[in-house]
Amino acid sequence: MNAVPLEYFLTVAGVLFTIGAIGFLLRRNLLVLLMSIELMLNAVNLTLVAFNRIHPQNHAGQIFAFFIIVVAAAEAAIGLAIVLSFFRVRKTVRSDDADLLRN
């Protein structure tokens, strides 16, 4: 299980993080914003696990990724609850309409 070099995984993770960040910056649908955050968290997890694979003395990277998955699940639940609450108030899920503090 060591045919693929480390750099390939890191490149995939970097490209995935870039896709997620660009989506987070470009889209204005709150649900898509949350999905972009999940993409970025997954890219970081992939980086951690790949580095753990090349330094296999302990499992620090994998356990770090495990806790990141826990936090990401909590974040998704809270974020979706906020989106639902926002939709109930404003009848929309566009992030541009969250402008109560604007004027």
Binding site: E7, Y8, N58, I69, A73
Partner: protein, 214 residues
């Protein structure tokens, strides 16, 4: 030699899944299609975890992300209904595109610098120790060295569940606090709060008016 070829092919398939899924997540107009793209990306990353000798994490990735988070997204999208597909609005588009272009340029530049000036040889993965990433070894480490963090993450999940329920339920059983944005809402549609609360919802505005009059 044969196994190495198989691994490379598997890695290529996972990469395709991850990249196509990621682009689809970001670019899809309909959020349900976006959630399907997210599912593809997550499954591809689970496959990469298998290549990286992290079997427990691959299983957790499939169970937690594909089984829980994506399904939660789908529930919310279907609860919100057709208005979850955002309308186009040019307001502030220039700043958004500028920010995204800056980020993309920096990323491409970083990738170029690493590829051009980094080491000339790819770093080969060492042979993994026996049992790396299996549920037994990782579980032993989580329950011995990281047990405090593990317990705290349990508390965090409990708080998240309670907080999500409190936030999604609303203060007054889901009473509408603001008038909806005009033009984006169907006037014949009843308020979602009434749909959500069902028969538990009290007609509060009329009640308070009559109380004020009397």
């Amino acid at each position: 030699m044969k196994l190495d070829n198989l691994e490379t092919i598997f890695f290529a398939i996972c990469t395709l899944l991850v990249l196509i899924g990621g682009v689809y997540t970001v670019a899809a107009k309909n959020p349900i299609r976006g959630a399907m793209g997210l599912l593809g990306a997550i499954l591809g990353i689970a496959g990469m975890y298998l290549l990286l000798a992290a079997e427990l994490l691959a299983a957790i990735q499939v169970v937690v992300y594909a089984g829980a988070v994506v399904v939660l997204f789908l529930f919310v999208i279907m609860l919100i209904g057709p208005s979850s597909t955002g309308t186009t609005d040019a307001r502030g588009a220039l700043g958004r595109y500028f920010g995204a272009a800056c980020f993309a340029l920096v990323s491409v530049g970083a990738l170029y610098v690493v590829m051009r000036f980094g080491g000339q040889t790819l770093s080969k993965m060492p042979e993994p120790p026996a049992g790396m990433g299996t549920i037994e070894v990782v579980g032993r480490e989580i329950f011995s060295e990281q047990v405090v963090a593990f317990q705290i993450s349990g508390v965090l999940l409990l708080i998240a569940v309670v907080g999500a329920m409190a936030v999604a339920r609303g203060k007054h059983g889901g009473e509408m606090l603001l008038p909806p944005i005009t033009g984006t809402v169907d006037p014949t549609r009843k308020s979602v709060s009434a749909d959500l609360a069902g028969h538990a919802s009290v007609p509060e505005p009329q009640l308070t008016k009559s109380e004020v009059k009397s």
